[in-house]
């Protein structure tokens, strides 16, 4: 389901449909997180990606009033070359990692408590408090940057 909706993001003509399929893909990825018992990340993924970021995308698309067939196509050769390059990357990565040493390793599902909010919060505010504060500064600068770029001349 993740892969199917991700494919539809790439191949759907209308940008609004792409956004909808991307939301479905994010929900499917959140499902993967829940299966891995990373509940905090699942919730954050839904709130941040499916909530905030997708609303931004939809807002921008509707602001620009994009139509479905407005987009010019790349030439057939260029599209085919891009598709082939992606496929080659996929094959090479699969072939390289097929026999990697992690073959017998298990990612445990439905157990373990490291994904719970309590443990993650404790680690975040004790060992990783400096990066956390730096990320707040990053947010502030990103906000100022977005406002400056979006401002009319």
């Amino acid at each position: 389901m993740t892969l199917g909706s991700a494919l539809m993001v790439v191949f759907s003509k209308n940008p609004v449909h792409s956004v909808i399929f991307l939301i479905i893909a994010f929900f499917a990825i959140s499902g993967h997180y829940i299966l891995l018992n990373a509940q905090f990340l699942a919730v954050v993924n839904i709130i941040v990606y499916a909530g905030a970021i997708m609303v931004l995308f939809l807002f921008v698309i509707m602001l620009m009033n994009l139509n479905a067939n407005l987009e010019l196509k790349k030439s057939r050769l260029l599209r085919f070359a891009g598709f082939l390059a992606g496929l080659c990357l996929f094959l090479i990565l699969v072939a390289a990692l097929k026999d990697a040493g992690t073959k017998s390793q298990i990612a445990e599902t439905n157990t373990g408590s490291i994904g719970l909010i309590k443990n993650l919060g404790t680690a975040l505010f004790t060992d990783y408090v400096v990066p956390f504060e730096i990320s707040s500064v990053l947010f502030l600068s990103a906000m100022v940057g977005a406002v400056v770029i979006g401002k009319k001349e």
Binding site: A6, V9, F26, V48, F57, A85, A123
Partner: protein, 109 residues
């Protein structure tokens, strides 16, 4: 669940993102494909964090928690990146009345 399955899902997701970036011309869709690639990396980080937890939980009850914190920080950075990137796309649209990346091949005027 063997870690290999997660590796293959993440590779496939990443490659779909790459194909999207290479084949589309709409700047917004290219941007969404970049988000897809970021999410592939996140998924793999969480899977490896759980794998590390499965092997190292005997010595350290919190083994593998760093991976999930990295995913958290990646999400933070992605949110900041999206806000700036969409501002750039809006400015591009205001200048050229299109979101076609081929009009960007010269950065002047």
């Amino acid at each position: 669940m063997p870690i290999n399955y997660y590796i293959f899902v993440a590779i496939a997701l990443f490659c779909i993102g790459v194909i999207g970036v290479l084949t589309r011309r709409n700047a917004i869709i290219i941007f969404m494909c970049v988000e897809l690639m970021l999410n592939a990396a996140n998924l793999l980080l969480v899977a490896f964090s759980k794998m590390h937890h499965a092997t190292g939980a005997a010595q350290n009850a919190n083994a593998g928690i760093e991976g999930q914190l990295f995913v958290f920080f990646i999400m933070v950075v992605a949110a900041a990146e999206v806000s700036v990137g969409l501002a750039i796309i809006v400015m591009l649209y205001r200048n050229t009345h299109s979101v076609d990346v081929n009009f960007l091949n010269r950065l002047k005027h």
